[in-house]
C-alpha cells in the first residue's frame, strides 16, 4: 500500500491529479483512499518524496 509520510508532506496536492483512480485527497496533507490500485503513479510526482510504498502491509 502507499503511505504518506506526514512529516514530509506539505499538502501541495500535486499528487492528486496523477492518480488514475482519483484515490488521493489532499487538504493540508495528502491521504490515500481505499480505491488505490498501487500503480505508484503518484510517487514520482511528489516534490518532497513524501509518498512511499509500504511493502510490509
Amino acid at each position: 500500500m502507499i503511505v504518506v509520510n506526514k512529516d514530509l508532506c506539505v499538502g501541495c496536492a500535486l499528487c492528486v491529479p496523477m492518480c488514475p483512480e482519483e484515490a488521493i485527497s489532499c487538504l493540508g496533507v495528502a491521504s490515500i483512499g481505499e480505491n488505490c490500485i498501487e500503480c505508484l503513479a503518484c510517487l514520482e510526482y511528489c516534490p518532497v518524496s513524501a509518498l512511499g510504498e509500504n511493502k510490509e502491509v
Binding site: L8, V10, G11, C12, A13, L14, V16, P17, M18, C26, L27, G28, V29, E44, Y45, P47, V48
Partner: protein, 436 residues
C-alpha cells in the same frame, strides 16, 4: 559508475535553472539540467486534471520585464496573453486601479478617513522620493504610525501578500518600497495559453537545440567537491548512479537543500549560520476551481479585507483552452496568518473556503474545488521571503545558486528567479570558457 562530462550542470528545472541553462547553452556551453520529477518547470509548470490545466505555482508571469528579457535573449517563444489592468475588491465593490493616482484612489475608496489617507500618502511620497524606511520595521508597523484604519491596512495587506507572497507584518517596510520602485514600468502580467509549463518547454527547446540535455526523473544525490571547489554531481537516473563531471554547478533547488547536497560539514560555520538565520520559506495556499460559467467579470481581482484570500484569477477569460470547452478555471491565492511554521492547514483552508463563498456569487451552485494546495516548508511558495535572500555564490568555488532563495532586493517570484540566472550567467561567462 557511469561517468559523463558537461560544462555546466544545473540541478533543478525551475525558472532559475531553465533560464540559466538556456542562456548558457545559447552561449555555447554544454549544459545538463537534471530534474527529479517527471515534468520540468518546478513551480512554473502545469498539471492536467479533469481537463483543466492547473498551475503548479506561477499563474501570471510578468510581461515586458526581466523574465521576458531572458526569453528574448535566447530567442525563445514567450506566449503570454495580457491579463489586463488590475481591479480591487473593496467593501464588496470592484474598482479598476487607475494608471495615475492609483493608490490614493484605492485608499479613498477603502476609507472615509481623509486625514489618515493623507497621512499615508504623505509618508509614501517621502519614502519614494527621499528615502525608504528601515529594514527593521515591518510594513504593517510602519503604516500603523500613520493610520489605525483596518480598511487602509487591508489594502496594503492584499497588495503585499498577493504580489510578494508574505504578509504586511512580515515584509520589511524598506523592502516593500524597493519592490515598488522596481515594479515601476513593469506592472503588467499575463496568462499562458498552454499553461506555465509552455514557457519552460520553450526554454527546454533552446537547451536541446544547443546540444544541451534535460534529464527528468533524475535526482541529484550529492554535489561533488575537491577541496573547496565543485567537480560535478552524482545523479540517480533510471536506478543507475551517474557521476556527472562539470567545472560549474548551478543549484536551483533552494539554498537549504543545496547545503544538504553539498553536505553541511563542507560548508563553513559562518555560511551555515547565515543560511539558518536568513532563509524563511514563503507560505501560500492555492485553491484551484472549476466552474461552469465565469465567476468573475474581471480577469483577476485583488481582494481586500477578506479573511485570507488576497487574489482570484480567472485565466480562462483570456486563455479559454486552459479548461474544457465552455468551462472556466480559477485560482484563488491566500496568505495564512503567519508564514512561519507550523501551518495550521485545516484552519487556514476553512477560512479560505468561507471567503470564497462570500466573494464568488454562485460558488456553491457553479463551482467545484479541483485542488487545494498548501505550499510551505520544503516545497514553499518561494524559497525565502523577499529581503531574506542568500547570495548566488556559495562558499564552494564554482557552485552557484539560482532561484527565489537568492533574489535581488525588491524582486519576487518568477522574474526574481530569472534575474538570478542573468547574474550567475554573467559571472560564469567572465570566468569560464565553454570547453568547445
Amino acid at each position: 559508475m557511469d561517468e559523463q562530462t558537461y560544462d555546466i550542470v544545473v540541478i533543478g528545472s525551475g525558472v532559475g535553472g531553465m533560464c540559466a541553462g538556456a542562456l548558457l547553452a545559447g552561449e555555447g556551453y554544454r549544459v545538463l539540467v537534471t530534474e527529479r520529477l517527471p515534468r520540468i518547470g518546478g513551480r512554473c509548470s502545469t498539471v492536467d486534471y479533469r481537463g483543466y490545466k492547473c498551475t503548479t505555482g506561477v499563474i501570471g508571469p510578468e510581461m515586458g520585464g526581466i523574465l521576458q528579457e531572458v526569453f528574448d535573449r535566447v530567442s525563445a517563444a514567450f506566449d503570454v496573453r495580457p491579463a489586463g489592468p488590475p481591479h480591487y475588491l473593496i467593501h464588496g465593490e470592484v474598482f479598476a486601479m487607475p494608471v495615475k493616482g492609483g493608490l490614493h484612489t484605492l485608499l479613498s475608496k477603502a476609507s472615509g478617513n481623509r486625514e489618515e489617507v493623507k497621512n499615508v500618502m504623505g509618508a509614501f511620497s517621502k519614502a519614494l522620493k527621499w528615502k525608504e524606511p528601515s529594514q527593521n520595521i515591518s510594513l504593517r508597523d510602519w503604516l500603523l504610525q500613520f493610520t489605525q484604519d483596518d480598511a487602509i491596512l487591508g489594502i496594503f495587506q492584499a497588495m503585499v501578500s498577493a504580489a510578494t507572497l508574505v504578509n504586511a507584518h512580515e515584509m520589511s517596510a524598506r523592502d516593500f518600497f524597493i519592490f515598488l520602485k522596481k515594479m515601476k514600468g513593469v506592472s503588467t502580467f499575463g496568462f499562458c495559453p498552454g499553461g506555465s509549463i509552455a514557457l519552460m518547454e520553450s526554454l527546454a527547446r533552446v537547451i536541446k537545440e544547443n546540444q544541451g540535455e534535460i534529464w527528468t526523473r533524475a535526482s541529484a544525490l550529492h554535489i561533488l567537491l575537491e577541496e573547496d571547489t565543485v567537480q560535478g554531481a552524482i545523479v540517480k537516473r533510471e536506478e543507475a548512479e551517474i557521476r556527472v563531471r562539470a567545472p560549474v554547478v548551478i543549484s536551483n533547488c533552494g539554498p537549504l537543500q543545496t547545503a544538504q547536497l553539498v553536505g553541511r560539514q563542507h560548508l563553513d560555520q559562518g555560511y551555515l549560520t547565515e543560511l539558518d538565520k536568513t532563509v524563511r520559506p514563503a507560505t501560500v495556499i492555492a485553491i484551484h476551481l472549476a466552474a461552469d460559467r465565469p465567476l468573475l467579470k474581471e480577469n483577476y481581482l485583488i481582494v481586500t479585507g477578506a479573511r485570507r484570500i488576497n487574489a482570484i484569477f480567472q485565466p480562462t477569460s483570456v486563455c479559454p483552452d486552459l479548461a474544457p470547452v465552455g468551462r472556466h478555471y480559477l485560482l484563488a491565492g491566500a496568505a495564512p496568518e503567519s508564514s512561519l511554521p507550523p501551518l495550521n492547514a485545516k484552519k487556514e483552508i476553512d477560512l479560505c473556503m468561507e471567503d470564497l463563498r462570500d466573494l464568488l456569487p454562485g460558488f456553491d451552485d457553479h463551482a467545484e474545488i479541483l485542488l487545494t494546495g498548501t505550499f510551505h516548508g520544503a516545497w514553499p511558495a518561494m524559497h525565502s521571503w523577499p529581503g531574506r535572500d542568500m547570495p548566488v555564490k556559495t562558499p564552494i568555488v564554482n557552485l552557484y545558486h539560482v532561484g527565489d532563495g537568492v533574489k535581488s532586493p525588491g524582486m519576487v517570484a518568477a522574474p526574481a528567479a530569472a534575474e538570478t540566472a542573468l547574474r550567475v550567467v554573467k559571472d560564469i561567462e567572465e570566468h569560464h570558457l565553454p570547453a568547445r
